[in-house]
Amino acid sequence: MIAIWYAVVSFTLIVYVVLDGRNFGAGMLQWFVAKTPEERRQVIAAIGPLWTWHEVWLLGFGGTLMAIFPRLMASSFAGYYLALFLILWCLILRGVSIEVGGHINDGLWQGYWDFNFVLSNFLLAILFGAAAGNVARGVPVDAQGNFSMAFFTNFNVRGHVGLLDWYTVSIAILAVVMLAAHGATYLTLKAEGPVHDRCEIWAKYLWIAVVPLLAVVLVESRIVRPDLPGRALFNPFWWIGLIVIAASAFTLLTGLTSGRELRAFVGSNFLIVGLLATGAAAIFPVMLHSTLAPENSMTAYAVAAGPMSLHLAAIWWPMGFALAVFYFVFTSRWYAGKVSVQRDTQGFY
C-alpha cells in the first residue's frame, strides 16, 4: 500500500517536471531561437495559456505529500526552506513576466520582462535539477529526522553536505540541457516559421549534448551512492523505467531524424518520465537518504501517515486526479495546433 502511494507521489512530481519542463526549456531558449519581438511573443504564446495548468501538478504533488507522507514533508520543507522559497519566487517571477510583458507595446518594457522570463526559467531548471540531485545524494538528516543545509559547505558529497556540490551541480547542468532540449522539441511541434526552423537545429544539438552528460551523471551516481543499484534490480518498476527509456529514446531519435515532430515530442516526454521513474524506483523505499548515518534515513514506511489518513486519501485523491486529468485534456484540446507570428490563436499573452 505504501509502495503504491510512493508511486503516486513520484508520478505527480514526474508529470509536473515533464509538463512544466517544456516551459522551462522553451523559456530558456527564447533568447536563442527568437530574434524579433514578434517571435519572442510567439514563444510566450506557445506556453502562455498552458503553464498554469502544468503547475496544478506541482500543487498536487505538495498536497499528496502532505496527505500521505506528512513527516517527510515537515522535515524536507523545513530543511530546504530557502531553496523552496527561491523556487517559489522564480515561479512567481516567471508567471508575472508572461502575464505582464504583453500589456504595454514598448520595446524596453517587453525586453525587460523577456529578460526576467528567460532568467527565471534558467534558474528554475537549475533549482529543480539541484533538488533532484539532493534527493539522489541524500541530505544530512539527524537522528530526530531534521536537517538544515547551507547552499555550499565543502562541495563534497558526504557528511555535512550543502545544497550544491559537484554532484548536484552536474545534475543541475544535465537538467538545464535536457529541459532545453525538451523545450526545443516542444517548440518545433508548436511553432512555425523561423522559430520552428531554429528550434529544429537546437533540439538536435541539445539532445546530442544530453548523451555524454547523462553518462557522466550515471558514473557519478555510482560513486556517490554505491548502495543504490543493488535493491533496484529486484524492483519491477525500475525495469519498466528502463524499457520506457529505451523505447522513448528510439521514438525520439526516429522522430528527430525524420522530422516527425509529434513523434519526437512524445519520445522526449517519455524519455524524461522513464529517467525520473527509474531514479524514483532505484531509491525506494528510502525517500530521504541521510549522508550522516544510514540509520537516520527516512523510508516511505516510516514517514507515512496513519491508516485513517491513507484511507481518506484513497477516496479523495482519485477525485482530484480525475479533475486534473479532465483539465489536462480540455486545455490541450482547446489550445491545440501551431502558434504563428501572423495569426494570434493563443489569446493575449
Binding site: P37, E38, R41, Q42, A45, A74, F77, A78, G79, Y81, L82, F85, W89, I92, V96, V100, G102, H103, I104, N105, N146, F147, S148, V341, Q342, R343, D344, F348
Partner: protein, 115 residues
C-alpha cells in the same frame, strides 16, 4: 446587489445613476471582506494550529532560523509590493484609456500578437 440585479432584469441598470455610483464605490468591499475573513479565521484560531489538536508553539520548524524567516518575509514584502505597483499601474492605464470603441473591436490580427 439585489437591487442592481432587479434593475438589470428590468433593463434599467444603465440608467439608474445613483445605483451605479453606489456600485462603483463598492469595489473595495470584496477585497476587504476577503482579507478580514482570512484574518478572522487565522487569528481567531490562535493559540491553535489545528483547533483542539495542535498548538502553534509546537508547530514551528526548529531548523528554520529567525534570519531565514525574516529574509523570506522581506522578500515577499518586496515582491508583492512590486506586483501591487504593476497591478495599479496597468489597471490605471486601462482605466485611463477608457472603454474600447465598437469599431476598434476589429483588431488587426498582426497587432493582436504584439498587444
Amino acid at each position: 446587489m439585489g437591487v442592481a440585479t432587479l434593475q438589470n432584469l428590468r433593463g434599467r441598470l444603465e440608467s439608474s445613476r445613483l445605483l451605479l455610483w453606489v456600485l462603483l464605490l463598492a469595489f473595495p468591499y470584496p477585497y476587504i471582506a476577503n482579507t478580514l475573513g482570512w484574518m478572522t479565521a487565522e487569528l481567531g484560531r490562535q493559540p491553535w494550529l489545528i483547533y483542539g489538536l495542535f498548538h502553534t508553539r509546537d508547530g514551528y520548524s526548529k531548523v528554520v532560523s529567525n534570519g531565514d524567516a525574516i529574509f523570506t518575509l522581506i522578500g515577499f514584502t518586496g515582491l508583492y509590493f512590486v506586483i501591487g505597483l504593476l497591478f495599479l499601474g496597468l489597471t490605471g492605464r486601462e482605466i485611463a484609456e477608457g472603454p474600447e470603441e465598437e469599431t476598434s473591436l476589429v483588431v488587426d490580427q498582426r497587432e493582436a500578437v504584439l498587444v
